[in-house]
Structures are given as C-alpha cells and as structure tokens.
C-alpha cells in the first residue's frame, strides 16, 4: 500500500472536486484498502467492514467540495470510518463481534495478493492471535498505526491525547506482541 505524497494528494483532491473520475479512482484506490483493513481489524466482519468502507466514501464524496484542511485528509477519512464503525456497533449492540485478532486466513483476505513476498501464514495467524493479548487501547493504536497507516501525530489528534502517551502505549503493545509470538514459537528474526 503506497503512500500518496502530500502534493499528489492535494492535486487529486482538487481534480476529484472538479469531477475528474480518474482522480477520484486514484484517491479511493489509495485510501479504501487502508480504511477496509482498519475496519476489518476492528470489527472482524469483512461484510460489515466493506459496507462501512463504502459508506465512508459516500460521505467523503459528498463533503469533499467543502473540505478545506488538506493536510489532514487522512485523519478526516479515518475519523469518519471510526465514527461510522462506532455507530454501527452501537446500533448492533451485543450482536457485534468483539475486536480481537484476525486469526483465520479468510479474515486476512485469503491467499497472499500477487506480487507480494508475504510472511508465512503461520506467522500471520500467530500475529492475529497475539493481537488478542493486547488491551483495547493498545489494540486500537496498533490498528490505526499499522492497518490505517496513520502517523502518531494523526492518531494523537484523533484521540485528543499527547503523542508521548501514544508512543508509550504503542511500545507496550509491541513488547506484548513480540512476547506472545515467541511463546507461540515464532521468532521474528527468523522471518527476515
């Protein structure tokens, strides 16, 4: 998942607002997989994650013309996604699945995408299981950082917390994940 340079992103937004279908496709292609990854990591329901991803981009399309804060486009999109997910989980109440790790490969998108030198399925499954050892706050920062590709500053803005607090939480989460992986027989250095 390639990051769009800021200038390119700004250009695409302006073109999309002017009705350029190619620019809009490029924007969606750059952000929808990230949004979907974050949502499916959070709700563990691929159908719901896709449904919310579509709703997010309907909102983005409707409000893009009025959007001014170009430097925070990514935060804006993920904020919409997180709000939509929260609303949907509230609406579904106890029927919503708990946010945990994506232990099964179906949730992990099935076979590896073509062209990627992927990690072993065992390592990915073990990482999915290790996610369940994190508490909710730790899991959320890992999801936003690694599934959503957000900067620490953007996550801090989203949560209204100091960056240092998030960094410490992320560090604790990484330590827990490494320990859980080692306990399940996965040595990270062997994967490189």
């Amino acid at each position: 998942m390639q990051e769009l340079p800021a200038e390119r992103l700004e250009h695409l937004i302006r073109r999309a607002v002017a009705g350029d279908g190619g620019a809009w496709r490029e924007l969606v292609a750059a952000f929808a997989p990230r949004v979907y990854a974050l949502l499916v990591a959070r709700c563990r329901d691929p159908e719901l994650a896709e449904e919310i991803t579509q709703a997010v981009f309907v909102t983005v399309a409707e409000k893009l013309a009025a959007y001014r804060d170009l430097g925070r486009f990514r935060s804006w999109v993920f904020q919409i996604a997180m709000n939509r997910l929260r609303d949907e989980i509230r609406r579904r109440g106890r029927h919503a699945k708990a946010a945990g790790g994506a232990e099964d490969l179906e949730l992990l998108g099935g076979p590896a995408p073509l062209g990627y030198q992927d990690a072993s399925p065992e390592a990915l499954k073990a990482l999915g299981a290790a996610m369940a050892t994190l508490n909710e706050a730790e899991r959320q920062v890992v999801h936003l950082r690694h599934m959503g590709g957000m900067s620490y500053q953007a996550i801090a803005d989203l949560h209204g917390e100091p960056v240092g607090t998030l960094l410490a939480r992320h560090h604790r989460a990484m330590t827990k994940l490494r320990q859980a992986l080692e306990e399940s027989g996965i040595t990270l250095e062997d994967l490189q």
Binding site: V17, A37, F57, A102, A119, M147
Partner: protein, 155 residues
Amino acid sequence: MTNPRGRSTKAMNERQPHHDEPSVDPAMESLLDAYARRLAHRPGLVDRVIAAAPVPAPRAARPVVLWNDRRIALAASVCAAMVVGMLFMRPAPSAAIAASPSIEAEPVLVSLLAGSDEAVLDDHPFGSELRTMDSDWSGLADEVRDIVAVAGGQR
C-alpha cells in the same frame, strides 16, 4: 550522578527504552505490514466502493458575490451567532447543563425552533433573541427531539 543502588543514570537510561520516540523493530514492523496488506486485500473492493460512491459532482461555478450581498451575509452570520450566544446565556435549566463545559448549537436548529410553537424570535436593536415559551424547557426539549427525529428520517 548515581542512584541509591550506585548505578549511573546514564547506564539506567541505556537499559530503559525511550518512550518518546517511535519503536524501531524492523522485524515486527515488517510482519505488521504483511498483516495489514493481507487484511487490506479484498478483490474488487475499489470498484465496489466507486460504484457506491461515484465521483463527486463538479462544483457549480460560484456567481460573483456583490459587496452588498456580502454585507447581508455577514450581518446574517453575526445575527445567528448572537442568537446562539443569547440562547445559552439564559439561566441554565438544570445542573447537568450548568456543569457542561460547553454547549454547541446549530444555527439551522435555532432557525427551525424560531418557527415552532415553543419559541419566539424577538428582534432587538442589538440583534435577535430566541426565547422559549415554557418555563421548564420541557416543550422546547420535545421540539428539539422532533426536529432531530425528522432530520434523521425517523418520522
């Protein structure tokens, strides 16, 4: 500088990770990237998203705004701000509202309330004031609920 156990602060800092910097763990980062790529991999997702959310309609060219219109727009904005401000400068109706650090109101909501039976918009030389018609705010609260319900498509 030494601590009570005789270990230098520098030596302790070397053992303790600095939590004010991103952790650099290439192996873990790499595995998490692979995990994220697998989660993000959903064939046809982009096409379905674009089908659901087509390219935004081009913005219509804005007509040239005359200075006179701008003045009117500015006056309307100031008036709306005063209405909102004065509405919430009234004595707080309950301890919960009094304890709230801030209250926000939508100018649209104020204008809708002004057209209802529960409130009246008074004009003053300094601006407009929205007054509720009931003393305990219950009718106004019901009116707000009705407006929100209609806006949310529940009625």
